[in-house]
C-alpha cells in the first residue's frame, strides 16, 4: 500500500482492498534478483540495508586461501618432535626430523626442594661473623635457669622490676634449685646486702629462697656468667672471647613485633685492662661486618653493666638512626665475687636476632616469621641470606 499499488475502500461493508494501478514495478524484486546474480557491488547501499532489515538479504563472509607448493612439500603427514631422544641419536634420525619450538615465555618446572628457615639463615651469618672474629660458642642448651645465675650473680637486686612476675616466667614445677655453689652464693649475698669489693651494695636483706626460684631464662647473659665463673676457677686466668645465639623468654605483653620467646645474640671479651674505648672499637668491627659503619653511642642502664651504652646505626633506607644493640662493661660487683683478677674487665654486647631479620626481609609482623603462623610460602621463596661488610671509610 505504501507503493500505491493497493487501496482500501472503506465505503463498503466489510472494507475491501482494491487494486489501484494496473501495472506494478517491483523494485525490491529487481534488486534481489540483481544481488542474486552478484551484480550489486555496494552492500552498504541504503536499499540493501533496508533489505537486510527485512531479513530478505544477509551478509555471508567467504574466506579463501590460495595454496601453492613450497620447498618442504610432501605427501606424507609428520608431527614436530617434542624432544631429542637417545634413540634418535643412535639411529641418526635426528638429522631428518622436525622439532617443535620451545615456548621461552613460560616458566620452568620447579625442582622439588626443601629450605631452611629465614631466621636461622640470618643466625648462620651472625655465627659466622663471631667465628671470624675468634669467638668461642657457649653451651646455651639450657632454657631453665635459676634466679641466682639469671639475676643475683649479675648484681640484679631481688626487688628489681625485671624479676617481677609480669616480666619473667617462673616455674611451678620444678620450682626451685637446691644445688648452688655455697661459697660463691655467700659472696654474692654480701655484695648485695651490705656491700663488698669496694661497693656499698644495695643495702637490703638478701634472701636465698628468692635466688633459688627457677625461671625461664630472660637473657643468655646467665650462661655468660656461668662461663666467666668457670674461667675464674682456673688457676691461671686466660683471656677469653665468648658468644652465643639462643632463645630467651620474657613474660611481656605481646604485639606485632614482640613474642614471649625470641633469640638473643651475645658477645663478650674478658681480658686484662679492657677499656670502654675497646668496647667501642669491637662494636665498630662487629657492625662493620653487618654493613654498618656509622655508629653512635648513648648512655643507658643495666643492673649489671657500668658504663652501659645503647648502640645506634644510621639506616640509609629509613633515613634515621635506629637502635641496633645494647652493650656495656660488667660491674666489678659481678666479677670480683667470682674470683676474677681485679684488673680483668669484661666488655659485652647484645642484640636480638628477630629485629635485624625483620628489617632485612621487610617483614612487619613477627608471627609470620616465627611460630605456627609462619608463612610457609614466604619461607620457600626466601632468598639466600648474604650479609655484606661495609667498605672502609672514615
Amino acid at each position: 500500500m505504501n507503493n500505491g499499488w493497493l487501496q482500501v475502500d472503506k465505503s463498503s461493508k466489510p472494507a475491501l482492498v482494491k487494486r489501484k494501478v494496473d501495472n506494478i514495478h517491483d523494485e525490491v524484486r529487481d534488486l534481489l534478483k540483481r544481488i542474486q546474480s552478484l551484480q550489486l557491488s555496494d552492500s552498504n547501499a541504503k536499499e540493501v540495508v533496508e533489505l537486510k532489515k527485512r531479513k530478505l538479504v544477509e551478509d555471508v563472509v567467504i574466506n579463501y586461501f590460495i595454496v601453492t607448493k613450497s620447498a618442504g612439500f610432501s605427501t606424507n603427514i609428520s608431527k614436530g618432535e617434542a624432544e631429542l631422544t637417545a634413540e634418535m641419536l643412535q639411529t641418526g634420525s635426528w638429522k631428518t626430523l622436525h622439532f617443535k619450538q620451545y615456548n621461552f615465555n613460560a616458566k620452568g618446572m620447579m625442582p622439588s626442594y626443601g629450605c631452611l628457615h629465614p631466621l636461622l639463615k640470618v643466625r648462620t651469618e651472625y655465627r659466622q661473623i663471631f667465628l671470624e672474629m675468634g669467638f668461642t660458642e657457649m653451651p646455651t642448651n639450657n632454657f631453665v635457669e635459676n634466679s641466682f645465675w639469671n639475676f643475683d650473680a649479675l648484681f640484679t637486686p631481688q626487688k628489681h622490676p625485671a624479676r617481677d612476675a609480669q616480666d619473667t616466667f617462673f616455674l611451678s614445677d620444678p620450682a626451685m634449685t637446691t644445688k648452688l655453689p655455697e661459697d660463691y652464693v655467700n659472696k654474692v649475698k654480701q655484695v648485695h646486702s651490705t656491700g663488698a669489693f669496694g661497693s656499698i651494695g644495695y643495702q637490703y636483706d638478701w634472701q636465698l629462697e628468692e635466688a633459688q626460684k627457677n625461671v625461664l631464662r630472660t637473657h643468655t647473659t646467665a650462661v655468660s656468667t656461668r662461663m666467666l665463673y668457670k674461667l675464674a676457677q682456673e688457676k691461671i686466668f686466660k683471656p677469653a672471647k665468648y658468644f652465643s645465639i639462643d632463645k630467651v623468654f620474657r613474660n611481656e605483653n605481646l604485639d606485632a613485633t614482640h613474642l614471649a620467646e625470641f633469640h638473643q645474640i651475645e658477645g663478650l671479651i674478658a681480658d686484662y685492662n679492657l677499656t670502654l674505648g675497646d668496647l667501642i672499637g669491637v662494636l665498630y668491627e662487629f657492625f662493620r661486618k653487618l654493613g654498618m659503619n656509622k655508629l653512635r653511642f648513648k648512655p643507658a642502664y643495666n643492673p649489671y653493666t657500668e658504663p652501659s651504652m645503647e648502640v645506634f646505626s644510621y639506616h640509609e633506607g629509613l633515613k634515621k638512626w635506629i637502635e641496633v644493640g645494647n652493650s656495656g662493661m660488667f660491674r666489678p660487683e659481678m666479677l670480683l665475687p667470682m674470683g676474677l683478677p681485679e684488673d680483668v674487665s669484661v666488655i659485652a654486647w647484645g642484640l636480638s636476632l628477630e629485629r635485624p631479620t625483620m628489617i632485612l626481609y621487610g617483614i612487619n609482623n613477627i608471627r609470620s616469621l616465627i611460630g605456627p603462623k609462619v608463612d610457609l610460602e614466604m619461607c620457600q621463596q626466601n632468598p639466600l641470606c648474604r650479609v655484606t661488610a661495609a667498605t672502609d671509610e672514615q
Binding site: G114, G134, N141, P174, G198, L276, F297, P299
Partner: protein, 595 residues
C-alpha cells in the same frame, strides 16, 4: 653563604642570652628544629630540609610542658640546652634524658632527674651555669615523731623532714605530686616498700605518732573525699590491706593521705614523712623529696630535721644529708674508659655530673657523692659519669689485643649439618614455640598431663604458656594447620630443643636436642619418612642392622603401642640397644584436634 657552623654559633650566642631572660616561642621552635633535623638526617643542615620536620610525640609533650612552665621558671629552656649540647657533641644530656617525659626507657636509678626541678638543675650544673647546691640542716629545733611497737610487724620504719617557708605555685606543686607518684611506682615498688606522705604542718601539731591498730577503730577523711569513713569501710573502698593511725589521722600509708592536712598552694610549711619496710630506701626517697624542692624554701636548700623516737627509745635524726666521700685514682678512671685526662680535667668533668670533686694530687681526686646520687655504688659508677661528661662519641676507639681461636659448640655444629641435610632432602624448616598449653602436649595426644615430664609455668599470662614442650610434634602440627592453602604434600622439619624434667640436673630440668620431620598428604607416605630416616643414618655413618640385635647399627622395633599413633603403623628406632626415636603414622584422634 653562611656556613652551618656560623649559623649555629649565632644561635648559641642568642640562646645564651635567652637563658637568663625570657624566651620567645619563636626561639624554642627553632631550637627544636635543629634537634629534629639531627635526629632525622644525622646532620644539622637546615638546607637539606625539604619537608616540614615532624617532632616525635615525646619531644612535643616535653616541649609543651616546658612552654607552660618556662615563664615561671627561667632556667627551663631545656630544649635549647639539648640542642647546644648536641652541637657541642656532649652526650651527657642523654643520661639526663632518661627522664620519662623524653620517652626513653628508664628503670634507671637516676632519681635526681625524675622531676623537672632536678633535671633542669642537673643540666645547669652540667653546663657549668650553676654550682652544686649545698644542702644543710637548719638550726631550728626539730619536731618529734614516735614509733609505737604495734607497727613493727607491718611497717616498722618511719623517717621525716620539714621544708619550712616553702612557696609552691601550680606547676611546682604538680611537679611535687608527680615526683611522689614516680617514686611510689619505681623505687617504692608500688608503695609496698615505702609510702610517702606530705602534709601541711600548719594544720597539725607535733609530736606525731606512728601506730597500727584495728581498722574498725579508726575514722578518717581521706584526701579530697567529702566524708569521714571508718577505716574498714575505706579498705573496701580502696581495696587494699593496711593499718592506720589513731588520733587525727594524717595518712593511711601506703594508700592515701588525709584531707585534713592536705597541702594546697601557697602553704608555708610542709612536713614529709615516709613509712617503710626498707630503711635504706626510705632514706633515699626522703632525701630525694627534700633535695628536689628545698630550692623553693625562703632559705633555699635549707631543710629542717625530724627526730624519730624508735621503739627501743633511741632517737634518730632525719634526714641524713651528708655526702659520701671517696678518693679515686685518676689513672684508674683513664684506664677503665680508655682516655687520657689529667686530675684537673677529671675533677671538672665530675663536677659537671653533680659530683663535687677536689684535686688532691696528680693522681688522686676526692669525690663528694651527694644524697641525690643514690645510684653511685662503686668506683665504676663514678668512672661512667666521667665518661658521660667526656662524651661517649669522643672516646677514641681501639680494638682489644685479645687473641683467641674461635670454636663452635659441637652440638650446634652437628645440628646445622643435619638441618642442611634434611632440607636437601626436600623438607621445609619450621621454627616453633617452646611453650604450649597443656592440651597441646598431653590431651590431644591421648596422654595424661601427669605422665609427661614437662616443666610447668607458674604465672602464664594466657593458657598458651602453661607448659614447656617435650616434643617438637605439636609445633609442626600447628604450623601445618595454619598453612592449609600450601600445595600438598607438606614436608616440614625442625631441629631444636625440648625441655624435660630431670632430677639430676642443677635446676631439675635439661634441654634435649631433637629432630622431627613430618609428611602431610592425602595418604600418609610412611615410606617417605622412613626413607628420610635411612638417609640420615647414612649421613651419620650408622649402618642398618638386619639381624635386629642390640650390638650395633639401627633397626625399627614395632612392638608396643601408643595412643598417639595409628595401630600397626608405629615403630621405635633402636640404635645399639637404645630407643632413640619413633616413626609412625599419627592417629586420627591426634590429627583432628590439631588440623
Amino acid at each position: 653563604m653562611v656556613s652551618q657552623q656560623d649559623q649555629l654559633r649565632d644561635y648559641f650566642q642568642d640562646a645564651q642570652r635567652l637563658l637568663f631572660g625570657q624566651h620567645t616561642r619563636h626561639h624554642l621552635k627553632q631550637a627544636l628544629s635543629w634537634h629534629i633535623i639531627l635526629q632525622q638526617t644525622a646532620s644539622m643542615h637546615h638546607d637539606q630540609q625539604t619537608t616540614k620536620p615532624t617532632t616525635s610525640k615525646h619531644t612535643e609533650k616535653a616541649a609543651k610542658k616546658i612552654d607552660k612552665t618556662a615563664t615561671t621558671n627561667n632556667e627551663l629552656n631545656i630544649f635549647i640546652i639539648l640542642v647546644l649540647i648536641n652541637w657541642c657533641q656532649r652526650e651527657a644530656y642523654l643520661r639526663l634524658a632518661a627522664h620519662e617525659s623524653l620517652g626513653l626507657p628508664g628503670v634507671c636509678p637516676c632519681y635526681d632527674i625524675l622531676c623537672l626541678e632536678g633535671l633542669s638543675r642537673a643540666l645547669r650544673i652540667f653546663l657549668q651555669k650553676t654550682e652544686i647546691p649545698k644542702f644543710h640542716i637548719s638550726n631550728k629545733k626539730s619536731i618529734r615523731m614516735k614509733i609505737l611497737p604495734n607497727t613493727q610487724r607491718i611497717r616498722p620504719i618511719v623517717v621525716g623532714a620539714v621544708l619550712r617557708n616553702i612557696t609552691f605555685d601550680t606547676d611546682s606543686y604538680n611537679s611535687f605530686i608527680k615526683l611522689q607518684d614516680k617514686l611510689h611506682l619505681n623505687l617504692c615498688r608500688n608503695r609496698t616498700l615505702v609510702g610517702i606522705g606530705t602534709h601541711d604542718l600548719d594544720t597539725i601539731q607535733p609530736p606525731f605518732i606512728h601506730d597500727a591498730c584495728e581498722p574498725k577503730q579508726i575514722k578518717f577523711r581521706s584526701l579530697n573525699q567529702k566524708d569521714e569513713m571508718r577505716a574498714d569501710e575505706m579498705m573496701e573502698f580502696y581495696l587494699k590491706d593496711t593499718h592506720l593511725k589513731r588520733y587525727v589521722v594524717l595518712s593511711l600509708p601506703p594508700i592515701i593521705n588525709g584531707d585534713h592536712s592536705k597541702i594546697s598552694l601557697k602553704r608555708k610549711n610542709v612536713f614529709i614523712e615516709c613509712t617503710a619496710v626498707d630503711l635504706h630506701k626510705a632514706n633515699v626517697v626522703l632525701n630525694i623529696m627534700v633535695t628536689m624542692f628545698a630550692q623553693y624554701c625562703s632559705k633555699p636548700f635549707e631543710i629542717e630535721s625530724v627526730e624519730v623516737e624508735q621503739v627501743d627509745g633511741k632517737v634518730i635524726v632525719y634526714p641524713d644529708l651528708s655526702d659520701r666521700v671517696q678518693d679515686i685514682s685518676v689513672k684508674k678512671i683513664n684506664q677503665r674508659i680508655g682516655i687520657e685526662v689529667d686530675a684537673e680535667k677529671t675533677a671538672t668533668l665530675l663536677n659537671r655530673m653533680c659530683l663535687q670533686t677536689k684535686v688532691i694530687d696528680s693522681d688522686r681526686i676526692r669525690v663528694n657523692i651527694p644524697v641525690t646520687r643514690a645510684d653511685i655504688l662503686h668506683f665504676c659508677d663514678i668512672a661512667e659519669d666521667c665518661a658521660v661528661a667526656y662524651g661517649f662519641n669522643n672516646i677514641r676507639k681501639t680494638v682489644p689485643k685479645t687473641s683467641c681461636i674461635g670454636n663452635e659448640f659441637e652440638l650446634n655444629r652437628v645440628s646445622d649439618l643435619l638441618r642442611h641435610s634434611v632440607a636437601e632432602s626436600g623438607f621445609i624448616e619450621a621454627l616453633t614455640f617452646t611453650l604450649y598449653s597443656c592440651p597441646d602436649v598431653a590431651e590431644k595426644f591421648g596422654k595424661n598431663i601427669e605422665n609427661i615430664p614437662a616443666i610447668h609455668i607458674a604465672n602464664p599470662k594466657t593458657q598458651d604458656f602453661q607448659i614447656g614442650r617435650t616434643s617438637l610434634l605439636p609445633g609442626l602440627l600447628k604450623t601445618i594447620a595454619n598453612n592449609q592453602d600450601t600445595a600438598l604434600p607438606i614436608q616440614l622439619f625442625e631441629v631444636s630443643d625440648v625441655i624435660l624434667k630431670d632430677s639430676t640436673g642443677e635446676t631439675g630440668c635439661r634441654n634435649e636436642r631433637r629432630l622431627c620431620a613430618i609428611f602431610y598428604n592425602k595418604i600418609p607416605g610412611f615410606e617417605k619418612i622412613h626413607g628420610l630416616l635411612d638417609r640420615m643414618m647414612t649421613l651419620v655413618k650408622v649402618p642398618y642392622n638386619e639381624n635386629r640385635t642390640n650390638d650395633k647399627g639401627y633397626y625399627l622395633n614395632n612392638q608396643g603401642e601408643d595412643s598417639a599413633f595409628f595401630p600397626g603403623r608405629h615403630a621405635q628406632v633402636i640404635l645399639c640397644g637404645q630407643n632413640i626415636g619413633v616413626i609412625d603414622v599419627l592417629h586420627p584422634n591426634v590429627i583432628e584436634p590439631f588440623v
